[in-house]
C-alpha cells in the first residue's frame, strides 16, 4: 500500500514537470509586458528596460526556465508584484477560503445528489424521477454567474435572509482565531458561536451556487449506476434473504453504485478546488480563484505559474486519494 502510494507519487513527477513547462511557455507568450505593468504606461523607456533586465526578462527563454526551476527547487514560488507578497504567502491566506467553500459545496452536493439519484433510480419513470431528471439537466445547464446573481437577488436583496455577498464574514465581526484557516472549523474549535453563525450564513449562498453543477452531475451518475446495480443478481439475493427494501437499496445496492460515482466526485472536487473563479468573484470570496483572476489581469507571472503547479499537484493527490478510497470500498481492488 505505502509502496503503491510512493510509486504513484514518483510517476507523477514527469507530469508535473510537463505542466511547469507548459505554464511557463504559455505565460511568456501571452500578450502584455509585466515591466510596463509594474512601471506604468507613462514610465520612461529606460526605466522599463531596467525592470526588464532586473526581472531577467531579457534572458533567453531556456535560461529563464532554468532559473525558474532552480527557484522552485528551493521551494520558492516567486513574488507576486501586484500584491507585493510572496506567492506562497498569498496562497496561504487565500487557499483556506477556497478550500472551505469547496468542502461545503461538496458536502451540500453529496447530501442532495445521492438521495436524489437513489430515489430516481428506485422509482424509475415516476413523477419524482422525471422532476429530478429535468432539474439535473437544468442544474448542469444554468450558467453559474446567472445563478449567483439570482441567488443574491432573491435571498439578499428581496428576502434579506442572507448577509451581503461580501467575503467570508461580516465586516464588523472578528474572524475566529486562526487554526486551520477554515472559519467554520476554527470557530467550532474555539467555541466562537458568533463567528460560526456569521461564517455559515456567508458561505451558504456561494456554496449552493457552486454545488448546483456537481449535484446535477452526481445525481445523474448515482441514478444510472443504481439502475445498473439494482438489476444484478446479488441485489436479488439480498431480497431473497427477506431483508427490508431499505437495507437492500441503501446497503447492498448503494455501496456498489458509489464506486463509479466516486470517480466523478473526485474529478468535481479537483475542479472546484482549482478555484471557482466566477463564484468567488460574484460573492467577493477572498479565495485563490479571484486571486488568480487578478494576477492574470496584471500579467503577474509568478502567481499564475505557482497556482497552476499547486493545483496540478492537488488534482493528482485527489486522484490518488480517490483510488485509495476505491480500495476501501471495493475489496476486489488491492494495491500492492
Amino acid at each position: 500500500m505505502i509502496r503503491y502510494v510512493l510509486k504513484r507519487l514518483l510517476y507523477a513527477i514527469p507530469g508535473v514537470l510537463g505542466i511547469i513547462l507548459i505554464t511557463f511557455i504559455l505565460s511568456r507568450v501571452l500578450p502584455g509586458d509585466p515591466a510596463v505593468m509594474i512601471a506604468g504606461e507613462q514610465a520612461p523607456p529606460d526605466v522599463i528596460e531596467n525592470i526588464r533586465i532586473s526581472m531577467g526578462l531579457k534572458d533567453p527563454l531556456y535560461l529563464q526556465f532554468f532559473h525558474y526551476i532552480r527557484q522552485l527547487g528551493s521551494g520558492n514560488l516567486g513574488t507576486a508584484w501586484h500584491t507585493g507578497h510572496l506567492v506562497a504567502q498569498d496562497f496561504a491566506t487565500r487557499f483556506p477560503a477556497t478550500l472551505e467553500l469547496t468542502l461545503v459545496s461538496m458536502f451540500i452536493a453529496v447530501c442532495f445528489a445521492i438521495p436524489v439519484g437513489v430515489i430516481s433510480a428506485t422509482r424509475k419513470n415516476s413523477a419524482v424521477d422525471h422532476v429530478s431528471r429535468v432539474l439535473s439537466l437544468l442544474g448542469a445547464a444554468i450558467p453559474i454567474f446567472w445563478l449567483g446573481l439570482v441567488l443574491i437577488y432573491i435571498f439578499y436583496a428581496k428576502l434579506g435572509w442572507s448577509p451581503a455577498p461580501m467575503g467570508r464574514i461580516g465586516q464588523d465581526i472578528n474572524p475566529p482565531t486562526h487554526l486551520t484557516g477554515l472559519y467554520i472549523l476554527d470557530s467550532l474549535l474555539t467555541g466562537d458561536m458568533v463567528a460560526l453563525k456569521e461564517s455559515i450564513s456567508h458561505i451558504i449562498l456561494p456554496a449552493i451556487c457552486l454545488s448546483t453543477g456537481t449535484i446535477a452531475i452526481v445525481a445523474r451518475m448515482v441514478r444510472s449506476s443504481m439502475l445498473e446495480v439494482i438489476g444484478l443478481d446479488y441485489v436479488r439475493t439480498a431480497r431473497a434473504k427477506g431483508l427490508p427494501e431499505r437495507i437492500v437499496i441503501y446497503k447492498h445496492a448503494l455501496v456498489n453504485a458509489l464506486i463509479p460515482t466516486l470517480t466523478i466526485l473526485g474529478l468535481q472536487f479537483g475542479y472546484l478546488i482549482g478555484g471557482a473563479v466566477i463564484t468567488e468573484t460574484i460573492f467577493s470570496w477572498p479565495g485563490v480563484g479571484s486571486y488568480i483572476t487578478e494576477s492574470i489581469l496584471a500579467t503577474d507571472y509568478a502567481p499564475i505559474q505557482g497556482f497552476t503547479l499547486v493545483s496540478a499537484i492537488l488534482y493528482m493527490l485527489i486522484n490518488l486519494s480517490v483510488d485509495l478510497i476505491y480500495g476501501l470500498i471495493d475489496p476486489r481492488i488491492r494495491y500492492e
Binding site: Y234, R236, T237, A238, K241, G242, H252, I329, P331, R332
Partner: protein
C-alpha cells in the same frame, strides 16, 4: 407447499407476455420436486413468482393460491412476506459468481438473515455462520467467513449460497439451476450436499433444472414444463420408464445412453414458441413428431393417468376418457 393455478404476466413493449400459465405444484415436506424444461419455458419465473421476487410494476403474479404452511402467501402484505422469505422459504440461484455481493464479507452476508429473522446478536450470528459454513463443507470456516466472495471459487460460492439459504432452517428451499454454472465434479458435490442437508433438516426442495440427470438423481416427483405450462408430471421412475408426452419423450431421447444403442443423439426440432405468439391448440404441436390435425385446434387438458401421473396431450386425454 401448494401452488394452484399460478399465472405470471410481464408487461413488455410488444404486449403482455404470459410466461407462466396455470401451474399447479404440490411440494411435500422432506421431498424434492423437480421442474424441468428448456430455457424460456417459465421454470425460473415460476420460482421467482413463488418467492415474490419479480420486479414489481413490470410483472403481475396471480394464482388461486400459493399455500405455504397453511397460509396464502400471495395475499400477504409485503412486510409479512419478508418474514417468510429467507426464513422459512429460501432460494439458491444459478449464478454463484454474481449472486454474492462483492463488497461485503461472506460471513456478514450470511449473518444478515440470522440477525434479521432470528434476531440474533452479532457475535451469536457469527458463531452460527461459522457453524453453517462448516456444515456446507467449507474448509477453515472461521477464516473464510472473513473473506470476500471474489476470493472463492464458483463451487465454494455456491456452498456459501446454500449456507445462506439454510441459515434459518427453511422448510422449503427453491433451487434454481443450482449446479448449471459449475464443473461436473463440483455439481455432484453440491447435489450431495443438498441431499445431505435435506436428510438432516427435512427441508422440501423445489429443484429447477434443465438437466434430466440431476432430476433422476435428486427428485421424487418431476414436473415437465413447456411454454409456461405443465405438460407432464409423474414420479421420477415412472417418468423415465414410461414417458407419455411427446415432449418428454423427446427430452429423454436427447440424453446420451451408456449402452451405446443409438448412433446419434435425438433432438427436438424447432424452438420454444414466442410467448407473444403462442400456438392456438397444443403448444407443442408445431414441434411434435406425432402431431395430428386436431392438435392445431384443440387445447389439451392435463389428463390424470393415475399414480400421480399427469400428461397434457390429446392422445392421453382421449385414452383417459
Amino acid at each position: 407447499m401448494k401452488v394452484l393455478d399460478l399465472k405470471t404476466e410481464f408487461q413488455t413493449p410488444a404486449g403482455v407476455v404470459r410466461a407462466v400459465d396455470g401451474i399447479n405444484l404440490t411440494l411435500y415436506p422432506g421431498e424434492t420436486l423437480g421442474i424441468v424444461g428448456e430455457s424460456g419455458c417459465g421454470k425460473s419465473v415460476t420460482s421467482l413468482s413463488i418467492m415474490g421476487l419479480l420486479p414489481k410494476g413490470q410483472s403481475r403474479v396471480s394464482a388461486q393460491e400459493i399455500k405455504f404452511d397453511g397460509k396464502n402467501v400471495l395475499a400477504m402484505p409485503e412486510s409479512q412476506m419478508r418474514q417468510i422469505r429467507g426464513n422459512q422459504m429460501a432460494m439458491i440461484f444459478q449464478e454463484p459468481m454474481t449472486s454474492l455481493n462483492p463488497v461485503f464479507k461472506i460471513g456478514n452476508q450470511i449473518a444478515e438473515a440470522l440477525q434479521f429473522h432470528l434476531k440474533m446478536k452479532k457475535t451469536e450470528a457469527w458463531k452460527k455462520v461459522v457453524e453453517l459454513l462448516r456444515l456446507v463443507g467449507i474448509p477453515r470456516p472461521e477464516a473464510i467467513a472473513k473473506e470476500y466472495p471474489h476470493e472463492l471459487s464458483g463451487g465454494m460460492r455456491q456452498r456459501v449460497m446454500i449456507a445462506m439459504a439454510m441459515a434459518c432452517n427453511p422448510s422449503v428451499l427453491i433451487a434454481d439451476e443450482p449446479t448449471t454454472a459449475l464443473d461436473v465434479t463440483i455439481q455432484a458435490q453440491i447435489l450431495n450436499l443438498m441431499r445431505k442437508l435435506q436428510a438432516e433438516k427435512g427441508t422440501a426442495i423445489l429443484l429447477i433444472t434443465h438437466d434430466l440427470g440431476v432430476v433422476a438423481e435428486m427428485c421424487k416427483g418431476v414436473v415437465v414444463m413447456y411454454a409456461g405450462q405443465i405438460v407432464e408430471e409423474a414420479e421420477v421412475k415412472e417418468l423415465f420408464n414410461n414417458p407419455k408426452h411427446p415432449y418428454t419423450k423427446g427430452l429423454l431421447a436427447s440424453l446420451p445412453r451408456l449402452d451405446g444403442s443409438q448412433d446419434r443423439l435425438e433432438s427436438i426440432p424447432g424452438q420454444v414458441p414466442n410467448p407473444l405468439n403462442i400456438p392456438k391448440g397444443c403448444r407443442f404441436a408445431p414441434r411434435c413428431a406425432i402431431k395430428m390435425d386436431r392438435c392445431d385446434q384443440l387445447k389439451p387438458e392435463l389428463a390424470d393417468l393415475g399414480h400421480r401421473h399427469y400428461c397434457r396431450c390429446l392422445l392421453c386425454q382421449e385414452e383417459d376418457s
